[in-house]
């Protein structure tokens, strides 16, 4: 099972963290992005033991990292609103799947949106995303007094402990 990417959006619809996980030895065209801070491009070391996924990597490789995030936000935002219209304000979608990937979604009561894109065989990750929120985001980002609460202008979460924790968490519990 493979994780392709992970995003956090804040209540201002700003992408405050994004992370791409690349299969080993695979240099996607999109990975030559300018290293803007929210993007911590994972090296091949982030991901071991995946060999069968070098084709069909969503989303579209031609997009820049910013466009990527915008597209994802647009998608989950519209989906969420649609779901609420149909199922009431308490309803929320959990994931959707295409032929190539599966997108998992978790929204906190404070409107933080956690999105993870994985391969289609992945089980439901709602709980995992909740764990990332409770165990990593709140502990390392929110409770770090030096990390800003708001991230205006695309200044992302820049917190090493969070990134290290996230890497470990993803590698140990999801990949492989």
């Amino acid at each position: 099972m493979v994780v392709y990417s992970f995003y956090i959006f804040d209540r201002h619809a700003e992408c405050i963290y994004k992370r791409k996980y690349l299969p080993p030895g695979h240099k996607a065209p999109g990975s030559g992005l300018p290293p803007s801070r929210p993007t911590s491009s994972a090296g091949s070391e982030a991901d071991t033991g995946n060999t069968n996924v070098s084709e069909a990597r969503p989303p579209s490789k031609a997009l820049s990292a910013e466009d990527d995030a915008k597209l994802i936000f647009g998608t989950v935002f519209s989906l969420r609103n649609m779901v609420r219209k149909l199922g009431g304000v308490d309803d929320n979608f959990v994931s959707y799947r295409t032929a190539h990937y599966k997108l998992h979604y978790y929204e906190t009561p404070t409107n933080l949106k956690f999105v993870m894109v994985t391969d289609t065989k992945m089980n439901n990750l709602r709980i995992v995303l909740h764990q990332i929120y409770v165990g990593l985001y709140v502990e390392y980002v929110v409770k770090n007094p030096l990390s800003p609460v708001e991230h205006p202008g695309g200044v992302g979460v820049d917190c090493e402990t969070f990134e290290v924790g996230l890497d470990q968490f993803v590698n140990s519990s999801l990949q492989g």
Binding site: A13, G74, N111, V149
Partner: protein, 191 residues
Amino acid sequence: MAAAKAARVGEEVWKTRIDKVNAELVTLTYGTVVAQLCNDYDSNYVEVNKQLDKMGYNIGMRLIEDYFAKSGSQRCANFKETAEAISKIGFKIFLNITPVVSNWSPDGKQFTLTFEENPLADFVELPDDGKAQDELWFSNILTGILRGALEMVQMQIEAHFTSDVLRGDETTEMRVTLLRYMDDELPPDDE
């Protein structure tokens, strides 16, 4: 109903998921901050109140995440539920007190929190300079915390103290007013 459930959640979280810290340390730390502010602003207590509120606002925006992470509760359905959650979960897990919610306005948008105890103000005697008693709201950080926390769940509120035992009042009370629910924000260049 909501009140009983909130009380249960608050009690449970307080017992199992909260790291405790020495109360004196908290009281002293907060007291020192206020005293220092009074000093720095030359006893301009109106300004001190403002600064405390601002600090609280910044705390509240963070604290709300911890609140949800620890309590696992969902958003409140209405403002009445919010009030109960503030008192019986929020104040319970962060200060181990449960201020009484009362005095609802007819439109259900205003209520009063009555603090029977206030760990922040233990042992405090306001300076005897003739105006602290009338101008300083010693625990004003709490109003900011509520404002910051509720803003993160898309409620714009106004909160202020209406009385304080430190000033010689009978009770310590805070009035909270719901101004409006805020809408989801869209990306600025979303079309």
